[in-house]
């Protein structure tokens, strides 16, 4: 009987526990805390955080419980991540809830979304310099796009072994947008610039909004066909929204479908961060590069806005450049908050949504470009 107890004890988490599991469980709890108490991207951080708890329960190998065991339930759910199924579904929902009016009203703000993508390529160079393989470097670089689904999608295609750290890094930095971005924004702008008021955007007609996703899809996907799964779903979702006659589908896409995909994505990505797999030197490198990438993306957007002001008659508030990273809508909210710290009557949120949504398009194109350029090396 003693031996049975001993055998059972040896199969419990208490016996199998590794210090790395403890670290990851603590990180998971921090994620849950940040999500619930600090309201940092709760819809992402809470599932990922709890997924970390699930993934770091020490288990007896062979029972078919772990996410990396081929016959486990979690592994089947993780299939949607490794095969890049969930990100396009999330993009469908994003498309069905995004209003592109501000972008259509002032398309020049789209360039800020393009400029912020510089972070992706600078980080790509940094990752190469740190010794990562080109495909891994590309997957790490996309963290600078500040777009979780895009990062997961590209990593699944180029470096599936890095999905855990890259997804966690991407979502962590997205959640930490309100902490990371403001100091950079203040550092790179003068008070006078932060006080700039934007012109009222023109009214956009229903017909324009209806045509936009189709034109954007055709143009972007002809240019970068590899962006098809993400942009195709994003634009399709937006067509459902704007067509009105497909309201039922749009409602499903922006509620049940995106919620289901987000839950499965979050929980499985979290569960993939098993301490022994996750806590490696390369993960540390990915986290450092991710932070750098995010900072560069923010700085590039702000500096490009200042550069544009050299030529524009109607100046734009350079804070908007920070919204070019595609963390929707958090980076736009940050722009609003930083702008209102200087002038509480200056409302920048609506204007910041333009570079914000163009950042989503830009990061999807960047992912498509990197995928097509790296496909041969995988």
């Amino acid at each position: 009987m003693d031996s049975l107890f001993l055998e059972f004890f040896q199969n419990t988490g208490f016996y199998l526990c590794d210090y790395r599991n403890i670290i990851m469980i603590v990180i998971g709890m921090v994620f849950i805390y940040l999500g619930i108490a600090k309201d940092y991207e709760p819809l992402l951080l809470v599932p990922i955080g709890f997924g970390m708890l699930i993934g770091n329960i020490p288990i007896f190998k062979g029972l078919g419980l772990g996410i990396y065991e081929t016959n486990s339930v979690l592994h089947y759910l993780y299939f949607g991540v490794t095969q890049g199924i969930y990100p396009p579904l999330v993009f469908l929902g994003i498309g069905a809830m995004t209003d592109f009016s501000t972008l259509l009203a002032r398309p020049v703000l789209m360039l800020l979304g393009a400029a912020a993508q510089a972070g992706i390529f600078v980080t790509f160079l940094g990752a190469l310099a740190l010794g990562f393989a080109p495909n891994e470097a590309a997957a790490i670089g996309i963290i600078g796009g500040a777009d979780g689904p895009t990062a997961i999608f590209l990593t699944a295609k180029l470096a599936p072994n890095l999905i855990g750290p890259i997804a966690v890094a991407a979502y962590s930095y997205m959640a930490l947008v309100p902490v990371i971005q403001p100091p950079i924004m203040r550092l790179l702008t003068t008070r006078k610039e932060r006080l700039i008021r934007m012109e009222e955007p023109r009214q956009v007609s229903k017909r324009e909004k209806m045509i936009f996703p189709i034109v954007a899809f055709l143009l972007c996907c002809f240019l970068a066909p590899a962006a098809l799964p993400l942009l195709g779903m994003l634009c399709f979702g937006n067509v459902l929204k704007e067509a009105v006659v497909t309201e039922r589908l749009a409602v499903t896409a922006r509620t049940s479908l995106i919620d289901t995909a987000t839950i499965l994505l979050g929980i499985t990505v979290g569960a993939s961060t098993q301490g022994d797999v996750f806590l490696t030197t390369s993960s540390v490198g990915i986290f450092v590069l991710g932070a750098v990438s995010f900072c560069i993306a923010t700085a590039a957007g702000v500096l490009f806005a200042k550069f544009m002001n050299l030529f524009l008659k109607s100046k734009i508030n350079p804070l908007l450049g920070a919204a070019g990273v595609s963390a929707v809508p958090d980076s736009a909210r940050v722009v609003q908050v930083v702008g209102q710290q200087e002038d509480p009557t200056n409302f920048l949120l609506m204007h910041a949504m333009a570079p914000n949504v163009s950042g989503v398009i830009g990061s999807a194109i960047a992912a498509g470009v990197l995928w097509s350029l790296m496909a041969k090396t995988v």
């Binding site: 972008l103 259509l104 398309p107 020049v108 789209m110 360039l111 979304g113 393009a114 400029a115 993508q117 510089a118 992706i120 390529f121 600078v122 790509f124 160079l125 190469l128 310099a129 740190l130 010794g131 080109p134 470097a137 023109r202 009214q203 956009v204 007609s205 017909r207 324009e208 045509i211 936009f212 034109v215 954007a216 143009l219 972007c220 240019l223 970068a224 163009s358 398009i361 830009g362 194109i365 960047a366 470009v369 990197l370 350029l373």
Partner: protein, 146 residues
């Protein structure tokens, strides 16, 4: 392999330059297209404007027809403009102004003479030079949202 050597060996500089160029070009082209989109739609909705490009004597247009300034309307006037917009929707693209006036009278539109006059002065309603009038939807939207 690390550092610059690794970047060079993996063709990193070229990939980065090509990558950012493609992303930028894509978004620039998209921005250019969508910045013109409303103009194309405006022409689609008001084909008369295409005709005007080719017609001579444009310099002789009256101030009513060329007014580019958005008239500021009171909330009440905006509401009445919306009623006129609904009436115009029931008519042809090139509609009869006296008929519109009559419809406004029958429909109980308040101060229909002077409010029609406001729409004429704001150039939301403009003559097609054939004795009929057109509705400038773009200007109408701008005016009521001003």
């Amino acid at each position: 392999m690390y550092g610059i050597e690794a970047i060079n060996a993996n063709n990193g500089w070229a990939i980065s330059v090509v990558g950012i160029t493609i992303v930028f070009s894509g978004l620039v082209v998209l921005a250019l297209v969508i910045s013109q989109l409303h103009k194309f739609l405006d022409l689609y909705e008001n084909p008369r404007k295409i005709k005007n490009w080719f017609s001579r004597g444009k310099e002789n247009d009256t101030p009513l027809e060329t007014s580019a300034v958005i008239m500021v309307l009171t909330e009440e006037q905006k509401e009445i403009a919306k009623q006129f917009a609904l009436l115009v929707r029931t008519m042809e693209d090139h509609f009869s102004l006296p008929r519109l006036l009559n419809l406004a009278r029958i429909s109980g539109v308040k101060n229909f003479h002077s409010n029609l006059n406001i729409l004429l002065k704001s150039a939301i309603i403009f003559p097609d030079k054939e004795g009929y009038f057109c509705w400038d939807q773009d200007l109408y939207i701008k005016t009521i949202s001003y």
